[in-house]
């Protein structure tokens, strides 16, 4: 009984706390990196005043957001206005439950908590909170719940800008859900499992990332590049990021769905947006870029070279190395995200719809067909 309590209650609680804490920190520094990178691309310097080259800027931002007055418009629906940032935030956080951060588990020996003299038995702590066998479906289902937060925020604010922003986001997110799903189907077929841990393990078995899956043995004939492209475009649209940031569209809708939000509630919406970005980058890394596998994975001779930086730590060293590789991949994917924002102007609404329905969905269907054909040919 005691062992079960620790294994199924205490350990997941600690994992959840750790993931939330680390992710919030990541969001803070992602915002700084975004401001810095876009500044560099515009031949500026970005935040420079707080800390060395603005390194403490995120802390100043958080303090500012916490201390700001919370303004609720007179005509707003108070309760819905309060709840919608929470509705946005919860799915964004809940999705992190199924992400495998690293492959190797940590072995924690039996120890006694001092002062209370509580004996803790030996444990195996995984890097994921839960390895659901429907992990990918869970991710798709939960992440698309966030759109309710956007719609309700726009509706409850009782402002034309918010309303327009949330209407756009509803249409956009529903349109882009389809190519997002279609781009993943090929990965599901290749892995034969929907568990995210299983997908990375399948890549490990196959000996290459799914991105470099060459069905005919011809290098550079990698059909999953189309899958990656489709997923990436759809994910940018799903997370309402530039060039598909129509729901916010600061040049036309003031701030879109969060026009009437301030202080803590605004901070929640901001946080949810960046959490979704990190989540999309994590999913790209896990599905296409081999998750915790090293970047040299699949290259003969180099495959095992970067598998464990800290061999003297044993299993823990391998786990930390895996975490490092995943973090590096996520960082690069996020940098491409920000690079897109610094480069492209915003799409018009009709262009967005025609891109989604006329190009991405047929492409997604064709991609599934092509992958199936290749798999059939290979037997």
């Amino acid at each position: 009984m005691k062992e079960q309590l620790i294994q199924y209650l205490a350990v997941p609680m600690l994992q959840i706390a750790a993931i939330i804490g680390v992710m919030l920190l990541c969001v803070m520094y992602l915002v700084l990196w975004e401001r810095k990178l876009i500044a560099f691309m515009q031949v500026r310097m970005g935040p420079m005043r707080v800390g060395y080259h603005g390194l403490l800027q995120p802390i100043a931002d958080v303090v500012k957001l916490l201390l700001k007055e919370d303004v609720v418009p007179k005509a707003a629906d108070r309760w819905v206005h309060l709840i919608s940032p929470i509705i946005l935030m919860i799915p964004a956080l809940a999705c992190f439950a199924v992400i495998p951060f690293t492959g190797t588990s940590f072995e924690v020996g039996a120890f006694t908590i001092p002062l209370v003299n509580y004996d803790v038995p030996a444990l195996t702590v995984t890097s994921w909170v839960a390895d659901l066998n429907i992990g990918l479906l869970y991710f798709l289902a939960i992440s698309s719940l966030g759109v309710y937060g956007l719609v309700l925020a726009g509706w409850s604010s009782n402002s034309k800008y918010s309303m327009l922003g949330s209407l756009r986001s509803a249409a956009q997110m529903i349109s882009y859900e389809v190519p997002l799903g279609l781009s993943i189907v090929a990965i599901l077929m290749l892995s034969g499992t929907a568990s995210l841990v299983g997908i990375v393990e399948a890549q490990q078995e196959a000996g290459h990332w799914w991105l470099f899956w060459a069905p005919l043995g011809v290098p550079l004939l990698w059909p999953q590049f189309i899958g990656l492209f489709l997923y990436f475009v759809a994910a940018v649209a799903e997370t309402n990021r530039a060039p598909f940031d129509l729901p916010e569209a600061e040049t036309e809708l003031v701030a879109g769905f969060h026009t009437e939000y301030s202080g803590m509630k605004f901070a929640f919406m901001f946080l949810a947006e960046y959490l979704n970005m990190i989540l999309a980058a994590l999913i790209v890394s896990v599905l296409f870029l081999g998750g915790w596998l090293p970047v040299t994975f699949g290259i003969p001779g180099l495959s095992e070279l970067f598998g464990n930086f800290l061999p003297f730590l044993g299993g823990a060293g391998a786990a930390i190395t895996g975490f490092f590789w995943l973090a590096l991949k996520v960082f690069l994917v996020l940098t491409v995200y920000l690079w897109l924002r610094a480069t492209f102007p915003r799409y018009r609404y009709d262009q967005l719809m025609s891109l989604g329905w006329k190009w991405l969905i047929p492409m997604g269907l064709a991609h599934v067909m092509v992958t199936a054909l290749f798999m059939l040919l290979r037997g």
Binding site: L37, T343, F344
Partner: protein, 160 residues
């Protein structure tokens, strides 16, 4: 009104998103450029010799006493009517010298006409200085009399 006819993109360009990748290459090149930003209070801008800051008064070692001869030409040409000059007989030699000289920075448009008309030799008595920090806490501080117009404005040192 005319409709701009843009050439159709070739299939190759449309298929491989060539234009989009070119755009991304442009931003990528800019990433590595040296920022043109100047960290203002920490880093002072370089003032070029012909920069026109706020007008100030000056004397010259070749001329005994006050250089300004209170001819009132600057006051007359000033488009903003911000200069007031009162003269008195010169303490050394013949002629006049300024007794009261008030310049209202609140109205001054930094056109430099006062410096141009100033007849004194070898340098104009009123000149465009290199000082550019004009912010004051009170409006009355912008009214400068002779004493203030002679002394250079101290530059504040910033810690960062």
């Amino acid at each position: 009104m005319s409709v701009v006819q843009r050439p159709e993109l070739s299939l190759w360009k449309r298929l491989f998103l060539v234009e989009l990748l070119q755009g991304m290459a442009v931003t990528f090149r800019h990433w590595w450029r040296k920022p043109t930003t100047e960290q203002y209070p920490k880093e002072r801008p370089k003032i070029l010799p012909r920069f026109r800051g706020i007008p100030k008064l000056q004397d010259h070692p070749d001329v005994e006493g006050i250089l300004c001869i209170a001819c009132n030409q600057c006051s007359i040409i000033c488009p903003d009517d911000c200069i007031t000059v009162l003269g008195e007989p010169r303490t050394v030699g013949k002629g006049k010298q300024a007794k009261v000289f008030i310049l209202d920075y609140e109205r001054c448009c930094l056109c430099g006409l006062c410096e141009e008309v100033c007849p004194t030799t070898p340098v104009p008595a009123i000149f465009m200085s290199h000082e550019y920090e004009l912010a004051r806490y009170k409006r009355v501080d912008l009214m400068n009399d002779m004493k203030e117009l002679y002394e250079p404005q101290p530059t504040k040192e910033y810690l960062k």
